[in-house]
């Protein structure tokens, strides 16, 4: 008996050497699993996190990674109390994903207070790396400024000089409109009108008619989720694009376009940091992902969770500890990022992850070869131009010099 035990441990000594000094890491994937953002994040983000741990070969590198997940129901107080409990009681070291800006801001606060790490992928608010920036937070995938920048700037350059906004009547929609307006005017375009739509709205026909009547070349949709889907569906019905006006989605993801189908969404222009069909690496990843996610291709948010977990683990491996959140995040900023999905990049002092963004146009049904063949690339926006300049975010972490 004793002999066998010794043998077993000897075997292990050769096969699983790093097991000797295992660093425990507990990752919490906190997102929407029942509401409007469940398809862009949800269960798929958890699958992405799991794949990241696998691909990082965490066990071989001496990290004992555990993943937990929960639904914040898009309610800041629900999110904040889960986060507190995770940090205080369950030993979670870092929280990932967190779509919905209001919840993300709350988690940002709690994480800083408890000195853990928060790697956001799902939320849009640029305040996370602006006035609310924190030494414990990295904002990975996108933000409203980058989306407005990409779509707004590129559309004006392509001749879309006059804009009309359909803006969801809440802070997020207004931020999108404000940021995009700034870019449009900077590029020589003009905003000739906007209408605030109640949130949520099922029927956009009235607002679309106002947009149509304005004669603007571009109708900007400063909204998200079900609102955007309804607006695009009804824009097709009212023949907006056939009338010569372009529709620009300011926050819309591939899962939304998939749901709309190219037939309805054709011609829509949008900005995303990731698309499954960008290159061989993203295609390989996406095929693997689809096998675990019921055939769905990953969204940018899910890709961001994958890449964020890989980079986070890299920093933890270097420090050999996950316990001090601000140290881990500092390490993440110090190390250059490199992963299969976003390529090489960096994380700025304010916590903003920098990578390229892409301007896409939704294909016509005739061009689309399958249910997930959605986009053609119009332009690549280099990381240096895509995001808000470091000195303009009013982030207290950035020294004003």
């Amino acid at each position: 008996m004793l002999k066998r035990l010794l043998l077993a441990s000897a075997l292990c000594a050769t096969a699983c050497v790093p097991a000797l000094a295992q660093t425990p890491v507990k990752i919490g994937v906190l997102n929407d699993r029942s509401g409007v953002y469940a398809d862009i994040s949800g269960e798929g983000s958890v699958a992405a996190a799991r794949m990241a741990v696998e691909d990082f070969k965490a066990a071989e590198k001496g990290l004992k990674v555990e993943i937990v997940a929960a639904d914040h129901q898009n309610k800041p107080d629900v999110g904040a109390s889960i986060a507190r409990q995770w940090y205080d009681r369950d030993g979670v070291d870092a929280i990932f994903d967190v779509p919905t800006s209001s919840v993300a801001l709350a988690i940002n606060q709690v994480t800083r207070e408890k000195n853990k790490a928060f790697i956001n992928s799902g939320a849009g608010t640029a305040d996370l790396t602006g006035p609310q920036c924190s030494p414990n937070t990295v904002h990975w995938t996108y933000d409203t400024v980058a989306l407005g920048n990409g779509t707004g700037g590129a559309m004006v350059k392509r001749g879309g000089t006059t804009w009309f906004f359909l803006t969801a009547d809440y802070a997020f929609g207004q931020a999108l409109q404000r940021d995009t307006t700034e870019v449009v005017t900077r590029n020589g375009g003009k905003v000739i009108g906007a209408v605030k739509t109640p949130f949520p709205t099922a029927d956009f026909s009235s607002f679309l008619l106002q947009a149509q009547g304005s004669g603007a070349k571009v109708i900007g949709l400063a909204n998200a989720g079900g609102d955007t889907i309804n607006a695009i569906k009804q824009a097709a019905e009212f023949g907006i694009t056939e009338g010569g006006q372009a529709i620009a989605g300011l926050l819309i993801f591939s899962s939304d376009i998939h749901a709309l189908t190219p037939k309805v969404a054709q011609g829509l222009v949008l900005t995303e940091p990731f698309y499954w069909d960008l290159n061989d690496a993203t295609r390989t990843f996406s095929d693997r992902f689809a096998k675990q996610a019921g055939g769905k291709k990953p969204t940018a948010v899910q890709a961001g969770v994958y890449a964020g977990v890989i980079h986070y683990l890299k920093a933890v491996e270097a420090l050999k500890s996950a316990s001090d959140g601000s140290k881990v995040v500092a390490k993440m900023k110090e190390l250059p990022t490199d992963d299969a999905l976003f390529g090489k990049g960096t994380i700025r002092a304010d916590g903003r992850k920098i990578h390229d963004m892409y301007l896409f146009e939704v294909k016509k049904p005739a061009e689309s070869k399958g249910p997930w063949d959605l986009y053609k690339t119009l332009a690549t926006i280099p990381g240096a131009e895509a995001f808000r300049p470091l000195n303009q975010g009013n982030c207290p972490l950035v020294s004003k010099s």
């Binding site: 029942s34 469940a38 929960a70 639904d71 309610k75 904040a80 409990q85 209001s102 608010t125 997020f172």
Partner: protein, 329 residues
């Protein structure tokens, strides 16, 4: 209009058991048990979770005061809970008030709002009363979405917990828990006093038979308004406290689904029982907390709880217990 299927002898929403002489002693025992639990539980359960339960328990108690003893079903109680939470958060964060003053400010606003809305709503009865409260709450929601100070859907974030009376730091969860437990217990005692005061007796008389109460010379509307304002004030106290505990105030608290949630808590715990809503909110919050990983299943399970409660035990958990013990709770 007259209704067929539901005959006129429809059972009242809440039927409190008649209280015998020993009820008082029994209730004293219950209070002692609750106080003991308040002291012991934070050593077993996570204090922040408990604080959440206590805030919602107070909210449900306030709601039940109106429903169980005033016979008025409000579908808009989120308005008072949420508005108080906004005001309290704003006062603590922007004006820099100490937490107790912030909570008082929030509570006062809820009282004022209750006075105005109550004056409108109590003029109607039954389902129409519910609908007016719902509509008024929708307007509060709209206001919260539009007004600058609420921060739109981002809400008011990073509210400082601050120092109680400017001295005692509330940063430690245990200290804050003591405060929340104290507020809760005071609220509970107050509600108990109201129910068992002559005022409460008149309320019950009005609930059971309004024309008779009026013919006895009671001004029913004044009593109804009074209990409405009391209820919204206590709901406001709960909301204001919650804002300090979670350091944020958001649209969730003014949304109509929050009004639905408090009905659920009261239903599960036992409408018309004094202590039922406490248990109900514990059950519901625990479900929300521990089932969070199951995603959409949370709402399905909540739905099942609704259905089962309505079909099988309408008197709620404590109502059932009370009947078994043959003692009012």
């Amino acid at each position: 209009m007259s209704s067929a299927a539901a005959s006129t002898d429809a059972s009242p929403i809440a039927t409190a058991l008649p209280e015998g002489k020993d009820a008082k002693a029994f209730h004293r025992l219950v209070f002692v048990i609750i106080a003991a639990l308040l002291v012991v539980l934070p050593f077993i359960l996570y204090p922040v979770f408990l604080m959440k339960v206590l805030c919602f328990a107070l909210f449900a108690l306030a709601f039940n005061l109106l429903l169980g003893y005033g016979g008025l079903l409000s579908f808009g109680h989120a308005a008072y809970f949420g508005m108080a939470s906004y005001v309290s958060a704003y006062a603590a964060k922007v004006w820099g008030l100490t937490p107790e003053l912030a909570i008082i400010a929030g509570t006062l606003v809820a009282a004022l709002l209750g006075l105005v809305f109550g004056a409108l709503a109590i003029r109607r009865q039954g389902i129409y009363f519910s609908m007016i409260t719902l509509a008024l709450a929708q307007m509060v929601f709209f206001f919260s979405l539009q007004a600058k100070f609420t921060g739109g859907e981002d809400g008011i974030q990073a509210v400082p917990r601050g120092h109680l009376f400017g001295v005692i730091s509330l940063a430690d969860d245990r200290v804050l828990y003591a405060l929340v437990a104290l507020i809760f217990f005071a609220g509970l005692l107050l509600i108990y006093r109201i129910i068992h005061s002559p005022f409460g007796q008149v309320l019950k008389a009005i609930r059971d038979n309004e024309p008779r109460a009026i013919s006895l010379g009671y001004r029913a509307n004044q009593y109804k308004l009074a209990v409405f304002v009391l209820s919204t004030t206590l709901a406001g106290l709960a909301g204001a406290t919650k804002a300090i505990v979670f350091q944020l105030a958001s649209l969730t608290d003014v949304h109509w689904s929050m009004s639905g949630e408090v009905v659920l808590m009261t239903l599960v715990g036992g409408m018309g029982t004094v202590f039922g809503p406490i248990l109900g909110s514990f059950v519901i919050i625990a479900m929300e907390n521990y089932l969070a990983q199951f995603g959409a299943w949370v709402t399905i399970i909540q739905g099942v709880v609704f259905v089962v409660c309505v079909l099988l035990f309408r008197e709620g958990i404590l109502g059932l217990v009370a009947r078994t013990l043959k003692r009012p709770l």
